[in-house]
């Protein structure tokens, strides 16, 4: 089963390296890992998607906690949440391409040299569906950002503002 963890980490050089090194060393296989800025300039937010059993996810979580720069780890999959994966897909232009994109609610972002770039931000599985639908039209290039996730409403993942000025 897929599990999505959100880790808040200190915005310091080397933290991504520590997390990546941990996954490698402990042989934790991850589906995707994204890092980005947050509402707090001292904090970065990592979204980690794992396809593992619950015990393994617990191990990942506890090991992440052991990293001194990791402030909090939460499994958002436990509570109501939304997630998005952003894809840019370059295909050879054809009328069906635009139609397929529209059917999914994706956008044709660029048309140059007979190629179009489609932009699609949706749940991971939805992105995969679009990719499959476009495959017959010869995908030239494809990039995905990996999943970012956020709890709904009162399900908030952030650090207490009081420590922000380190």
């Amino acid at each position: 089963m897929k599990h999505t963890l959100v880790a808040l980490v200190e915005n310091e050089p080397g933290v991504l390296n520590r997390v990546a090194s941990l996954f490698r060393r402990r042989n934790f296989n991850i589906d995707s890992l994204t890092v980005g800025r947050t509402e707090n300039p001292n904090i970065s937010r990592m979204t980690i998607v794992l396809d593992s059993n619950v015990t393994r996810v617990y191990q990942v979580e506890k090991n992440l906690y052991k990293l001194v720069n990791v402030i909090s780890v939460q499994e958002v999959t436990q509570r109501p949440f939304i997630s998005r994966d952003l894809a840019l897909i370059k295909v050879v232009c054809a009328p069906e391409v635009t139609a397929t994109a529209e059917r999914f609610g994706a956008r044709v972002l660029d048309q140059t040299d007979g190629m179009c770039v489609i932009e699609f931000a949706a749940e991971e599985s939805r992105v995969e569906e679009l990719v499959e639908a476009l495959r017959p039209f010869e995908i030239v290039e494809l990039v995905r950002t990996g999943v970012v996730a956020m709890g709904q409403g009162g399900v908030v993942t952030r650090v207490e503002p009081d420590w922000a000025t380190a």
Binding site: E10, S21, Y58, K62, N63, Y65, L67, N69, V159
Partner: protein, 572 residues
Amino acid sequence: MKLTGAEIIWECLVREGVEYVWGYPGGAILPTYDALSKYQNKIKHVLVRHEQGATHMADGYARATGKVGVAMATSGPGATNMVTGIATAMMDSSPIVCITGQVASGVIGSDAFQEIDITGITLPITKHNFLVTDLRELVTTLRKAFFIARSGRPGPVLVDVAKDVQNASIEFEYPTDAIRLPGYRPAQSASVQQIERAVEMLLKAKRPLILAGHGVNMSGAERALLTLAERGHIPVALTLLGKGAVPESHPLCLGMMGMHGGASVNQAIQGADLLIACGMRFDDRVTGNLKTYSPNSKKIHIDIDASEINKNVKVDVGIAGDLRTVLEQLLPHVPVMQHDEWMSEIREWQRDVDHRDIVNQTPPTDKLFAAHAIRDLWKATGGNALVVTDVGQHQMWEAQYYLHERPRTLITSGGLGTMGFGLPAAIGAKMGCPNDHVWAIVGDGGFQMTLTELGTAAQENININVAIINNSYLGMVRQWQEFFYEERYNATPMHNPDFCKLAEAYGIAAIRVTNRAQIPEAVAKAQSINGPTVVEFRVEEADIVYPMVPAGADLHNMIRRPNNIPDFTESH
């Protein structure tokens, strides 16, 4: 007051209560060594012979005292020489702080002379590490380093300090506020529900067994643990690093478990209906085959590190917390219990073990068996020495035949199994515990990996005794070759130097022991000399550590000692 970064390093060490620094100078750390002149009356620096030695000395000191040990080295090769020692400390959760010099911040990344990315190299083998390129961060970083090393599950921390940071000056002010580490919250105590569930299991158990590990010694939980054992009438099995957790003379103490643990101890683990694992991590060397491990028991696991729970062995109650705190939470709910039937079953197994035990047999000739040598050393030292071992057969014989009564009296590389650990760690341990008789028990192989530290022991007149268990073999490997590789003894026989002459070349007194009768006098003589001594025990070459659970085998499927001591003369 304006101080240089180099001076600030020493100021911080003084404030952390550091007594000793083991180190080796070189270009990138020279400013700090230069500043040492001002601090020599506050901190004693010990010049080692190899940076690996410095880390093991700091480690030995830390394990013996519970305080943070400090090692220092220069950049590049100095720093990489520390890697084995850092990894050793990591695997056994030993609190050390390593300070390395780094090339000037302006040239970092340019492959400058003796530049190495030591924070990168040690990332997976330190609890945490830091690179300091800004003098304003030096003080906070060093404070954090010591705090992280000693708190929670202790471990090694490395601080790499750029040379320009050591040279520059800044107004020095030592902060008094709490250390801010928002992402660092070591586990503390158990919840009410966890205690309730643990007690429930304890009350139901008919065949309970405590597994005591290194955590007992490190959290100072030995009293609480003994109370639990006595009140609950629960036998205690020890891991290698758990030796000393309860007095081994205590009737409830069964001795060591695992690959070379007592057969009766492993039988008890397999036969138990409740395991209470205290500060141990179900290492493969103590579990054997996980699929058949203690199949009929419920399991309670208490450990400071939440990531250890359910890592190797699935447990019924996992409590992440400081062991002593958790045991003290548990104790008020533990009634006086009796498990006489269980105990007498264990006693039956023990009788069989005693019957086979080599120390209860008289060797046919005046051969010297290592087991006897260590048992006699135990007797001659009144069982009260602080013993530091190296890695190999002698280490296992120590664990089997030297009984420890107090925590922190056996120091040994368990997790990493680092040959070469013994001598330097013993030097550090002795410096931390000057009133203890300190014995390093080393093999002829491992001793030669770090014997260069005899120079350090001689220069500083460290009053340790080094027992070399000389079997002219990499004995433990030879044992595996005998059992599992059809006696092809590739790369295990050793042509050794004359160890006594070698010691004497360092100005160190040396005694050779070739039979059992010489042991008491040799030990007494070694201990009476104020300074390092070497006692070489010429032991049987083809001896085997029994019993043995082959790697990955079921814990109860042990290779047991044949009933009589074999006569080895024919195999040679």
